[in-house]
């Protein structure tokens, strides 16, 4: 009974933002103020409906246009996809609530002309994200990826500065090259297996040079988009240079989307045929990212650069999944841990960037050495960074801790001590650079500034995101149950988290 509804919700999750983007673009800014509030609520309702449908009747295969897989495009909607949709709604909701005040209050950021473009672009980005999370067709994924990359690039340019244009260009050309890598891989897969549907492909992949090459091309392309060390260099200028709400979207969702694809490709397609060293290699790159990103964040002289490098480091964590999951006994623990980590990172990082935007607005800049005592001006924004930061560090009781704990357990239990050490070292370094900022922010300022009146529309969204990043740990069990719905995961070994 629920299936048509679940399907309808899924369709609307893509269709509605697309229509909204179109409408917002044509209408200019007239219909905006209502939409800002209603849209996230409606989308949240639809995601909830989808999750209910999933809980009732398991994973959903939706054949678009009614064409069965080899001919048409299929959506594969499982727990992981809906979890990503849900976190997207949360972050988008916060960003939508935050953005009007941000653009109204930023003197430097462009004219009304350009902020007008923010809404259609954001809705397009939302549609692209949802479409990407739902799709199970390797070529359709290419189109959603392009939609995502181009949308992100344009959003960065809204900052209006020369630096942001340069950063956007660098991101764009690299992203395009990455897409072409991916597309070449798709072409090879199609040449050999004659289908683009992931479920059909997954059943028949063989261990041959063609599959390896196709897999490498696709994954390398996605790694560039995920900014995995050493292909991370485009990320900090782009994420730091964008307007704060855009930075939040990019760091929280866009890089996660390409990681999500790596995850899908790896676990749905390539894991059985991938040679073992590949997983270890990915893990090693992740470990380098954790260390290098943290070191750069420690050296950063601007708040947003610091947060952007933190994204580089935190993305590194996610890649520890590949070596850890190669031990069947702990594969599921590691898988759940990484996804929990990614979800809470999305919430926390969005909170960080939104709060940083508010702080930047109050201080008129974000050079760290000019932010002394800023905490007294914006206590709520600072507490948002505190809540989010604790989750990033991975201290209990936060979502970040849940992920980290499961990674640790997976590492220790499978005897892969070095990965466990990377996990804890990364946490320490994260604490290092975040406390560097906090110490500055709460230091006694020589010129104590007036406590600005709280701008609720700019400070409450990041604060709520921070709270969510912390409290998600108390839902970890439920999130894990959701994620297991239709997990295309070979439930090998004990798998159980608790004995």
């Amino acid at each position: 009974m629920n299936t048509p509804f679940a399907g309808l919700w899924a369709v609307l999750l893509v269709g509605l933002p697309l229509l909204l983007a179109v409408g917002a673009y044509v209408a200019g800014r007239r219909i905006r103020p209502i939409l800002v509030w209603i849209v996230p609520l409606v989308m949240a309702g639809m995601v909830t409906g989808l999750i209910h449908g999933l809980i009732d009747q398991g994973p959903l295969h939706y054949e678009i246009g009614g064409w069965t897989p080899p001919l048409g495009i299929t959506w594969h909607i499982d727990g992981l996809a809906t979890a990503m949709l849900a976190v997207t709604v949360l972050v988008m909701g916060a960003v939508c609530a935050y953005a009007p005040s941000y653009f109204a209050g930023s003197i430097k950021t462009a004219s009304a002309e350009k902020t007008k473009l923010f809404w259609p672009l954001t809705y397009l980005l939302w549609a692209a994200l949802n479409a990407l999370f739902l799709s199970a067709d390797v070529f359709n994924l290419y189109v959603t990826l392009e939609l995502l990359t181009l949308g992100s690039v344009v959003l960065i340019v809204l900052a209006g500065t020369t630096d942001s244009v340069a950063a956007a260009l660098r991101y764009l050309v690299l992203g395009l090259m990455a897409s072409l890598f991916y597309l070449m891989g798709v072409a090879l897969l199609y040449a050999s297996y004659g289908t683009l549907d992931m479920a059909t492909l997954g059943g028949q992949l063989q261990q041959d040079p063609l599959t390896w090459t196709a897999a490498s091309l696709m994954i390398v392309g996605l790694l560039i988009k995920t900014a995995l060390f050493p292909m991370h260099f485009w990320l900090p200028p782009a994420h730091a240079g964008a307007p704060a709400p855009v930075s939040a979207l990019l760091s929280a969702l866009v890089v996660k989307a390409s990681f999500y694809l790596v995850l899908r490709l790896w676990f749905d397609l390539f894991r059985p045929v991938a040679p073992a060293p590949a997983a270890q290699f990915l893990g090693a790159l992740g470990a380098c990212a954790v260390l290098w990103g943290a070191i750069q964040a420690l050296r950063a002289d601007r708040l947003k650069t610091l947060i952007a490098y933190s994204t580089v480091a935190q993305l590194g964590y996610l890649f520890l999944l590949f070596p850890l999951s190669s031990a069947p006994a702990v594969a599921k623990t590691a898988w759940l841990g990484v996804i929990l980590f990614a979800l809470s990172h999305a919430l926390a990082k969005a909170a960080m960037f939104l709060a940083a935007g508010r702080i930047q607005q109050l201080a008129h800049e974000d050079r760290l050495d000019r932010l002394t005592g800023i905490g007294q001006c914006a206590p709520l924004a600072l507490s948002a960074t505190a809540l989010a930061g604790v989750s990033l560090i991975g201290l209990p009781p936060t979502g970040g801790f849940a992920g980290k704990w499961m990674l640790l357990v997976a590492g220790v239990e499978s005897g892969q001590w070095w990965w466990a050490l990377v996990v804890v070292m990364g946490g320490l370094l994260t604490a290092g650079y975040l406390f560097r900022f906090w110490a500055i922010a709460i230091a006694a300022s020589e010129h104590p500034s007036q406590r600005a009146p709280v701008n609720w529309r700019m400070e409450l969204p990041p604060f709520m995101l921070g709270v969510a990043a912390v409290l998600i740990v108390f839902l970890a069990t439920h999130v894990a149950q959701l994620l297991e719905i239709g997990a295309a995961f070979p439930i090998g070994g004990s798998g159980e988290v608790a004995p």
């Binding site: 206590p379 209990p396 009781p397 640790l408 709460i442 740990v473 970890a476 608790a498």
Partner: protein, 498 residues
């Protein structure tokens, strides 16, 4: 309906909720803030009283909160947790009163009291934790909530101290986290259980268990200020006096010591730990800390630094008591958890009063302070003599049980350690008392105008008086049924299954 599972939650909420509300209050709503604080503290005391009664009458207060997949947070009231909970609840009330008076007129009080309340919530959580993971959760919350208190003044020195504090404690956390994760992969369960839960693991795990023990103790030892992990403590003295009092007597240092007690007695089990041969190194480390801390204290002229090194030394009595592995020594260690708290908090309150009223923080400036502030220095004297171990003050009881426990364990060298420590205690406390009472006032003390009424505001005088009386009472009435000693005996009986 059974309300028992709610009680532990309420106990934590009684300080957490006021803390969170205080954050949202405007800075100048002083009255409401104070009222909230005192209300929370009183409610907490009341709840503790209810629970004490309940635990004695066979109620079990146990709460489970959904947490990680397969791992719930559990809060459980048992005799050992109640000992620590009671201490925190009582000392929170007096420290709050003291802090309200002490911080009168200084900036950022909202932030201060907010974190102060969170800090106490974490401590209560640590006390009530029913398993090692819950313990870790609150232990880390404690680290986070004390950092803003340590750097409260925001000066360069305070920030430096905060950095050091974090470097040490987060480093310790890493070891603790790794140790706990490793333990979890071995046993799949982290619940605390009287007499421990590891004894039935196969023998091949012995080396692993030793290694895990070392990791856990090193991790906890940072907060418990075991030498050489004590470096943060003297630096953290830059914090305001109520913070120092809280850090030393209840929250941070005690949390570390309490953690050591729990790991030894409720995870490994004292007897099993003894069989593993891990208690001896712990006893030696504790003894070294006791002597080293005392020697360093001798050399300090700054009063708060001297007290800090004294804490380094005294807190290790707790670890020493547990590490000796006999019932009597365990009683001594556990009861010292309370006694040291009462005495040390008194001393810090007094140091704060001296700094507040006379603007002195060096021992060399303390000549004649007894004449100017007789009440303050009177309570100081009680605390100091208690630390030395002069009967009938509480400190004597702890040392007595430790010494007899050492003999029971056949570790006579510990007597030497205790004696040396007491001598050193005397050597660094008695000169202070001599200066205060028998030297004529000089310098700032002499210039100080006599106060109109009492020597200092009541909110600053009552707390040390109360704690001094409690310390005295805990010693005088040690044999009674409701003294800390009696409680420690109950815990020990259960632990050893006597």
């Amino acid at each position: 309906m059974n309300f028992d599972p709610l009680v532990p939650l309420l106990l934590i909420a009684s300080s957490l909720v006021p803390g969170l509300i205080i954050f949202t209050l405007p800075e100048d709503l002083r009255g409401l803030r104070t009222a909230l604080n005192l209300l929370g503290a009183s409610v907490k005391l009341l709840l503790v009283a209810v629970m004490l009664w309940g635990v004695n009458h066979g109620h079990t207060y146990e709460t489970e909160i959904s947490f990680l997949p397969g791992l719930d947070l559990t809060l459980r009231a048992a005799p050992l947790p109640m000992l620590f909970v009671t201490l925190s609840a009582v000392l929170w009330l007096v420290t709050t009163i003291y802090a309200v008076g002490y911080l009168e007129g200084s900036p950022n009080r909202g932030r201060f009291f907010g974190f102060f309340s969170l800090c106490v919530s974490s401590t209560v959580g640590i006390a009530m934790a029913g398993d090692l993971l819950t313990f870790l959760v609150f232990y880390e919350m404690l680290t986070l909530t004390t950092y803003p208190l340590v750097v409260h003044r925001g000066t360069r020195q305070a920030l430096q101290a905060g950095r050091t504090y974090l470097a040490y404690t987060l480093g310790g956390s890493v070891l603790l986290l790794l140790g706990i994760a490793w333990l979890y992969t071995l046993t799949g369960d982290l619940c605390f259980k009287e007499a421990g839960r590891l004894a039935d693991l196969p023998a091949e795990y012995t080396p692993t268990l030793r290694l895990i023990f070392a990791m856990l103790i090193l991790g906890l030892g940072v907060k418990a200020a075991l030498v050489p992990l004590h470096g943060w403590l003297p630096q953290a003295m830059v914090a305001p006096a109520p913070v120092s009092a809280l850090l030393h007597a209840v929250a941070v240092v005690k949390a570390g010591a309490f953690g050591i007690v729990r790991v030894v007695s409720d995870i490994y089990g004292i007897e099993f730990a003894d069989r593993l041969g891990v208690l001896m190194p712990l006893a030696v480390a504790a003894s070294v800390t006791i002597v080293y801390g005392s020697i360093r204290a001798l050399a300090q002229d700054d009063l708060k630094r001297r007290l800090a090194f004294s804490t380094v030394s005294q807190v290790s009595y707790i670890a020493l008591g547990i590490a000796l592995g006999t019932p009597l020594a365990t009683i001594g260690g556990l009861v010292h958890l309370v006694h040291q708290g009462l005495m040390k908090i008194t001393l810090f309150f007094c140091a704060g009063n001296l700094a507040e009223r006379l603007r002195i923080c060096r021992i060399s400036e303390m000549d004649g302070t007894g004449r100017k502030m007789p009440w303050t220095m009177g309570t100081f004297t009680v605390g100091a003599l208690g630390m030395i171990g002069v009967p009938p003050i509480a400190g004597f009881v702890s040392k007595w049980y430790l010494a007899t426990g050492a003999l029971e364990a056949g570790q006579a060298w510990v007597i030497g350690v205790l004696a040396a420590s007491s001598l050193l205690n005397a050597a660094y406390f008695l000169p202070i008392l001599y200066r205060a009472w028998f030297r004529p006032p000089t310098g700032r003390v002499a210039q100080c105008e006599p106060a109109a009424g009492v020597e200092i505001a009541w909110s600053l005088l009552l707390p040390p008086l109360t704690t001094a009386v409690l310390a005295l009472g805990a010693g005088l009435l040690a044999a009674s049924g409701f003294s800390p000693l009696a409680w420690a005996k109950v815990i020990t009986v259960r632990e050893f299954g006597l």
